[in-house]
């Protein structure tokens, strides 16, 4: 709770905290290489990265929202609803569409717009009505998932326009486009949060909203934008997942939000706002992805794989605590 004041420069401190997970990642790389030489092959590494792209976009969104001192559980349902709605509006009714059969070029814009609107609605309810973010976004999570089932009748959507498939599938210069995209978005996010006034405003609001307001930051507006960006990123994650898996599953995204929080918090993002970096969060994503990959390669029995996975996360946390010697926030 109370931090131990060390007279370290803030920047240096933040950087150090960022690097907390780097030893863990290195350790995992070594373990992976021992488990199976295939692990270090570029194909496998690319696979790991690609499998984490959607998760990492959600983590990007949630991290920004958490830094701003808020909370969004509904991201995981946007991952399903946005593509479902976008696709259902453009495909024929025979393929479980809504029968509107809009031009299929509209699918991608609609998908992103749905995400934006969900974020805007969350922000509206939280900021204008002063409702608790936890409960608004939990309600939204249930509503959106319900809407997806209502719209699709619980069916998977298989007939996808090529534009929807493109992003999750294409390869540029030998790497999946989704990896490039994630890299780019994280770079933009890191730059914006680290070197731009509006990004710094998010930290200020999350750290002390009254102080931020006194300094002239329009905190409501900033937070609203953050929610909209978050929703849009979640929709994009849904788009990538749809392309990668070739269909919009009725349960798409379900259960992801726990992993999203786990990655962010393991990566040093505080649930109390104002603390954490996107680089740290990205490391959190990588750690989880590597653990998963190694467990698969090692062929841990299905019966015990979950227990082992959880145990590794717990041990990683304790190690991170012991090595950095810093208490974490509740």
């Amino acid at each position: 709770m109370t931090t131990v004041p060390a007279r370290l420069s803030g920047i240096r401190l933040a950087r150090m905290r960022d690097l907390t997970l780097v030893p863990a990642i290195l350790l995992l790389l070594v373990v992976g290489a021992i488990v199976d030489p295939v692990f270090l092959s570029s194909a496998n590494i690319v696979n790991v990265l690609q499998q984490q792209t959607e998760l990492s976009l959600l983590v990007l969104a949630e991290t920004i929202i958490l830094i701003g001192g808020r909370f969004d559980l509904s991201l995981e349902s946007t991952v399903g609803l946005a593509p479902a709605l976008g696709v259902a509006l453009v495909i024929p009714a025979a393929s479980n569409g809504l029968g509107t059969s809009w031009p299929s070029a509209l699918a991608v814009p609609i998908i992103l717009l749905v995400g934006l609107l969900v974020g805007a609605l969350n922000g509206l309810l939280i900021l204008r009505f002063g409702l608790s973010a936890f409960i608004v976004t939990l309600g939204m999570l249930i509503v959106l998932r319900g809407l997806q089932i209502g719209i699709t009748g619980g069916q998977n959507l298989f007939e996808l326009p090529p534009s929807v498939l493109y992003l999750g599938n294409a390869t540029w210069l030998g790497l999946p486009l989704s990896i490039w995209l994630c890299g780019l978005l994280f770079a933009i996010g890191i730059a914006a949060l680290g070197w731009f006034r509006h990004g710094r405003a998010v930290y200020a609001i999350g750290g002390n909203v009254d102080a931020a307001r006194a300094a002239g930051i329009r905190s409501d507006r900033v937070i609203w934008i953050v929610f909209m960006v978050g929703g849009t990123l979640a929709a994009l994650a849904g788009l990538l997942m749809t392309g990668r898996l070739g269909s919009v599953a009725a349960a798409q995204g379900q259960g992801m939000i726990f992993t999203v929080f786990a990655a962010a918090v393991i990566g040093g993002v505080s649930m109390d706002g104002g603390k954490g970096t996107l680089f740290g969060a990205l490391c959190g994503v990588l750690v989880l992805g590597l653990i998963n990959n190694i467990l698969t390669l090692a062929g841990v029995s299905a019966q015990w794989i979950q227990a082992v996975y959880g145990l590794i996360i717990l041990v990683a946390l304790i190690l991170a605590r012991v090595t950095t010697g810093k208490a974490q926030d509740s």
């Binding site: 420069s9 920047i11 006034r197 405003a201 002390n208 102080a211 006194a214």
Partner: protein, 505 residues
Amino acid sequence: MTDATGASTVPAVEAVHTSKRFGATTALHDVSMSIAPGSTHALVGRNGAGKSTLVSLLTGLQSPDAGAIAFDGKPAPPVADRSAWRRRVACVFQRSTIIPDLSVAENLFLNRQGGDNGSLVRWGALRRKAAELLQEYAVDVDPAARAGDLGVEQRQLVEIARALSQGARFIILDEPTARLDATAIDRLFGRLRALSATGVTMLFISHHLQEIYSVCDTVTVLRDARHVLTAPVADVDHDALVAAMTGEAVGLTEVEARPPVGDDTRVALGLKDLTLHGSYSGIDVDVRAGEIVGVTGSGSSGKVALAETVGGLRRPTSGTVSVGDAPVPPGSVPAALAAGIGLVPQDRHREGLIPLLSIAENATLPIAGSFGRFGYVAPGRLRDTARSFIDRYDIHAEGPSAPVSSLSGGNAQKVVLARALSTAPSVLVLINPTAGVDVRSKESLLGAVRAAADTGTAVLMVSDELDDLRHCDRVLVMFHGRVVAALPAGWSDTDVVAAVEGVNR
């Protein structure tokens, strides 16, 4: 409108018939005030009189329910236009507006990290600018440090530097000195006088009336949300000012000398070779039953850490604390309580009070076990006890079940004191007990401390305020972790100041 000298007579800032209510509370009722350009205007009043509320109107953080604010004769900008407000007025708020997880440099230039319009942040340039600013105001802080790691005083200095640096021609300081030591206050005043000389207008809020006399030219008094008087400070003497604030025409009583505590009185609190690395070392102090011992020193003297050690909040590296003859297990508040030590901690917001709980519960936390068997807290007995505290310590509140968050600073502090005294301790440790407390409340607070001492409680009082220390039987002065002087009663102010500055070494 110009007067004979050609200077503008349009007030730099004006509040016209402003009122503000919070639910059932009227915080301001039809208050008007105008501040002449270039003047240093004092705003005084008891805790809860409405000073901070007026500040929030003048800084545009809240809009008045009725009435208006004007700058230079022109209506104030709309509340939403924060940058227009910030061009007109800068403020050191009473509540900290430091963001702990950001660096000092960034806190200094919050929301203008890249200059006033730029949005790209150049960290190197920002740190250099911050370093220059800090140097200009003689604040010895690393601009790259995490603001949350700073001490209370340093944080306050950062806030002041930030407000002064914004280039506004009107600056509000809401109790800027409550957390500063004498030297820092002197430096601040030097700075304020220099600014004033350049024509900057200032509104200064303080409960230290002598500060009003030393830096301000005009004073406005608020009482119970109403405007009472505005006059040049030269025209109101200390007693008149207090009378205006309290509505009672009584002069402040001189501090009554206490009968000396005899050498044969038993030692109630004994500190033997107490050391905490990095804070203080080799402290040997005996406090006799009924004796009030003051401890003072500059910010880094280790006085607060020493008191916190006695209270059980910190564990010393070596040495012992004993009450009577029995050593107290170190580093444990429950052990300290059991040994009969009561503590008023330094920061009532951070470690003094639980804002959502009632006055009754806050005041009786350590004795909650005494209201019934098996830990049962009988509501009737709880309320009765709390009522008796409210009477005894003169706490102004709606009743024992009001949440402490609804109290003004002085009354909240009395709740903390009531809590420390609730266990009828044989040793009472106080840290800055009167910070931010108005004159009247200060008197009653210190009166309660003296009353406790009169019944045989040994008191260790850490304070920077000479007014507090005057109540002590002797005053220990600490410098860099050691006791460098012990002044028996009858010291003069200069003795203390010299010792605090380490001059007599």
